[in-house]
Amino acid sequence: MNRTLALFAVALAVGQLALAQDEVYLKVTNPGLSRVVIAVPEFASRPGTDPAAAALLLATLRKDLDETAVVGVVPAENAKLVVVDPTNPTLTRQRWRAVGAQFLLDGSFAGAGNQLVLETRLWDLTSGEVAYSRRIQGTVSLAATMAHTLANELVHLFTGRPGPFLSRIAFVSDRTGAKELWVMRWDGTEAQQLTTYRSIALSPAWSPDGEWLAFTSFLRGPPQLFVLRPTQGYLKTLSTLPGVNSSPNFSPDGKTVAFAAGAAGVTDVYVVPVDGGTPMRLTHTLGISTQPAWSPSGRQIAFTSNAGGSPQLYVMDAEGTNVRRLTFDDTYADEAAWAPDGVKIAYTTLVGDRFQIATLDLRTNARTIIPGPGNNESPCWSPDGTVLAFVSDRTGARQIFITDPAGRPQQITDKGNNIQPAWVAQVQ
């Protein structure tokens, strides 16, 4: 990586942090060029360290860091060029700098019994100072979790946003013959079935703290709203209004659920407290209003309405006042997903006769279509706002994809049809 780009990336990183107070901050828009490069050499191991656990931790850490959009590990072919001099750490750090590293993460393992301990420091190779240090410990069986925790901290250091490595995606799958709720890690591993009702489950939505999962189910006959605690299996009914109860969405403070409900033939956006209570109607359209999406500030709710003749995106204040239309250039706009920075909304649009993902910048009104083969819908932002998950039928069945740091889609499900991803930073 040439010097100018390296500095550019560092300057961007600083710029990001200085603006972290606002909802909006600089995003790395071309990750291939602008990743902050960290060297992660072999860590020392003191006697008593479980070698398998240490190796797993290091491998997981390197893999995690390399999968982000803002941080990258020095490529192996460059790392090979560095001659490590244990007697001269300063010289060694200069050698890492020479192959393009801007930061160096060094560490040493220790252990006793089934405990694994890692002491790490992050060196800023430009200033020669330690920028961050951490001692992290756990049982050897938690080596991967320790790596994920550390990787999350490093990502947070550089972006001010939570790292994705313990994050999970809830989704709907029909692989068992009925639409059920499932949850998996963000990379598609460890998929687990959550509901076994053999009915129809739809539209999972996480509370921001990852404690609750709201969803629609036909398990009692008509579509009703439920909320589930995935760590306990606890199930609670949230709304049984007559007609349709669907598309739940949690407020940023986790206290209120917005959803779409039908009453006498009209579907409108309602809100109900998570603790239970009477749902309150917000929209008063003469048509269909559905798919509410709370803004990250909690002050506004975007939603879909066909009040203008076709499904389009609207936004209103959280009290239901001040309704205004957002999309004018689409023949169809649905499934608004508000980016964590509050500036962009991703949504599903129709191009010709195929669904595609689009983003709308709320400041500039610029609309960008993200083209892809087949039908692409149900966009969902990662908790740090750098990655989009979505559903595509490009391989035949409907599968969930996430975009990698270079913007390339990676398929993360493969059995049955998998739809409606919902991403949370961590399950509590």
């Binding site: 100018t4 925790t149 250091l157």
Partner: protein, 200 residues
């Protein structure tokens, strides 16, 4: 987070902006002077814990459990044998809709008029009108559209004199299609208000 606005951070931001401007303007490798310092990681320290302070003990991630069954159990939608037979006899015909529409077409009105006549002759019969959609549009939007279709059919029947108490409505959106190919020959079959007798 007041440290974010200290002069070093601002200085680096300004320098960053200058570098960006320089890179954009000249489009060639410009070796610019290095920033004075990179306070980035320290400045971004999470509020709750200063970096390096103390040990982080990692706890196991919470175990994810399957959801319990609801109180009152799960309702299946199967009908007793005699009602299955009654429905198979086809006394009540379904009404069909245009794409994205819940308005009643003339042919739908004719069908519903005949259904209304039969229902008025059998006032003890209870039924459910299911609103269905083709697979286009999103699942959520189709739930709402199906709901409109079911109620459009019910409202028309009631306007023709059928007792509202005889008729329940439900929407299945695109979830229970009658035909599963991916073109109009199947889609048109799925855009319907479907009648199911639930009591004689």
């Amino acid at each position: 987070m007041s440290t974010l606005w200290n002069s070093k951070a601002l200085g680096s931001v300004l320098l960053g902006v200058l570098l960006i401007a320089a890179a954009c303007a000249h489009r060639q490798a410009v070796v610019a002077p290095e920033p004075q310092s990179v306070p980035a990681p320290a400045a971004a320290a999470p509020a709750q814990e200063a970096p390096g302070a103390g040990t982080t003990t990692v706890a196991p991630e919470p175990r994810i459990s399957p959801a319990e069954n609801p109180e009152g159990g799960i309702r299946t939608s199967e009908l007793p044998a005699d009602l299955e037979q009654l429905n198979k006899a086809g006394y009540l015909k379904d009404a069909f809709f245009d794409t994205n529409k819940s308005a009643l077409r003339p042919d739908a009105r004719d069908v519903l008029a005949a259904d209304a006549a039969w229902l008025k002759e059998h006032p003890t019969v209870k039924l459910t009108i299911e609103g269905h959609c083709d697979e286009r549009n999103t699942e959520e939007y189709n739930l709402a559209l199906g709901w409109r279709r079911a109620n459009a059919a019910k409202d028309y029947l009631v306007s023709l004199g059928v007792g509202a108490g005889q008729i329940a409505t439900i929407s299945y959106g695109e979830e229970k299609p009658f035909a599963t190919c991916h073109n109009e020959s199947c889609w048109s079959q799925n855009r319907r208000a479907h009648f199911v007798i639930t009591a004689r």
